[in-house]
Subunit: 358 residues, 2 copies
Amino acid sequence: MSAVTYGDHTKDVDDLELTKFAVPRDVESNQVLLKTLATPVNPSDLLLIRGVYGAFPPKVKLSETDPVVHVAGNEGVFEVSKVGTSIEGYSEGDWVILTSGRLGTWRTHVLVDFPSGGPEPLFKVKNAGEGGLKDIEGATLSVNPPTAYQLVHNYVKDWNSDGRDWIVQNAGGSHVGQFLTQFARMLNVNVLSVIRGGKPNHDEIVTELKSLGATAVITEDQAQSEEFRNHELRSIFNGGNVRLAINCLGGASATALFLMLSPDGAMVTYGALTNDPITYPSRWQQYNNLTTHGYFLTGNTKKNPQSKIDTLNAVLKLYKSGKLQVPPATLLEFKDGNLLELYLQVIKSGKKGIVKYI
Amino acid sequence: MSAVTYGDHTKDVDDLELTKFAVPRDVESNQVLLKTLATPVNPSDLLLIRGVYGAFPPKVKLSETDPVVHVAGNEGVFEVSKVGTSIEGYSEGDWVILTSGRLGTWRTHVLVDFPSGGPEPLFKVKNAGEGGLKDIEGATLSVNPPTAYQLVHNYVKDWNSDGRDWIVQNAGGSHVGQFLTQFARMLNVNVLSVIRGGKPNHDEIVTELKSLGATAVITEDQAQSEEFRNHELRSIFNGGNVRLAINCLGGASATALFLMLSPDGAMVTYGALTNDPITYPSRWQQYNNLTTHGYFLTGNTKKNPQSKIDTLNAVLKLYKSGKLQVPPATLLEFKDGNLLELYLQVIKSGKKGIVKYI
């Protein structure tokens, strides 16, 4: 039984440690024992390990005899292995995710305490024996798909299904961008995805995004060119209504999206990868009645926990019906051997990956 | 009977002309004859004369025998003098304003055609014999008070009356700013007004704004100082909730307002006097769930004409009850003599003024 863990003074992923621990034979009446099925490796996992968010998540006790440690990882899907006698609603074989990222997920087993009267620490994604959900879908369920789903649904409530409404987004190749494209196309809403140009596999990326549903894919250089916006882009939109701009970058990239909006449109910022401010002309906002919003999944969920649960259920339904697909990611399998080395292999590849526990 | 008029190639107020015209003895069945009571001189009147808005308003026919001309002026209050036989709802002695600024108001009389089936060209502000409304109130009714009223009421619908909610605004000394202050204080909402500093009569301006209801008045230099915002300003707000920022300037002034907002607050831009863009940090918007809007009275009224009528009625009620006051303005009286010279006197003083026709 292994976990990827770290101490208080970790500043680099090379300080990560492998901790072995014993899994209890039996659980207490208020505990559930989980076996890990799959966990992703996200950039935010590495930021958390490096303490970039100001505070580390709380330490957890892996077993009775081992010291408390931080466990790396925030997402993952688990199979219920043992259920305490006082816990209702869970059976052996159910699939669940953790409702808080604070327990750490890069480990073979998790022993979860159900606090009396507190919020449920688990969210069930599939009943024992039920089909229709892949482990990689469950593993990556809790952050990107709900973000994308809420971005599409929270700001425009009356999408037209006539095929003339548009969403424009930068970071169109990100996982959020790829989920967003799929959700939009389910509503018959067009998507213009702006991506960084100049990559050697540019054409391949464009083909991939279009296969997920993107109506058009352009580069940042094109999006930021007034000439391009006034000509090529107009003929792409073809008189359609650009109602929503989804910004994850800031700076000139955000300005370009803002200038694409049709009257009464809205720009939503859910990330600030460039760290540059948002800038746009006052009169453009005034005369076109444009609105801007900030989006923050964690903050919204804290204010209204049910909103996240409703969103997760909507996403699960789409996965189980086969309408939604996980964007491509590197898959690695862990059976036995060194769990830490496997995670380091993903991290050092610089790519997003999913570790499957088989 | 005189009017201040201009031709197609006017580029300066010195090109304004005085046109004399004959007032008809009788009106047609679909006409109303108005006598002017008072008209203001606004900066936007001069912009319109100079053709800054790209197009001049349409020409009007002052009398049967005179040529068509542009008449200057956009606002004013009038007394109904003669009513055509087919027109209902108006009596001699009623006070009215023009619902469109396109007829021009700097003139002693206006002959108004009621188009069959078209929108009413007049809005009644007071019945004949009814008291409670001054001519200077009626004359300045149609732009600034509705703007200020809608800015206070359209974006925050649930103001708390506990005295802990705040509006912050730049251009706090403008007429819109002064009306806004009065409307906010009627709801027990605090107002922080930012004004340009360094004027010789600074203390007098501050006293005047506070007497209208401003909770605090600070200068642009103070508003734009991080040091000031982090200390003095915090103690002014005293833990209150800064829910609305009203921006008429853009640039650094708008950024400063944005950074004053409490979580879930909104910034509304209704003007762009500096012509500098709006700029603010992405993450500040995201983590504080801040929204920005553009406001444009003319555009909103075009979309929903009833909204303007409802607002005018709300403002009139406040005037008639004595709760609202016109911000200080220079008053000039016209009896006979040269109407043009009187308007030029106001314009060249560089101050806002109101011409009363006695």
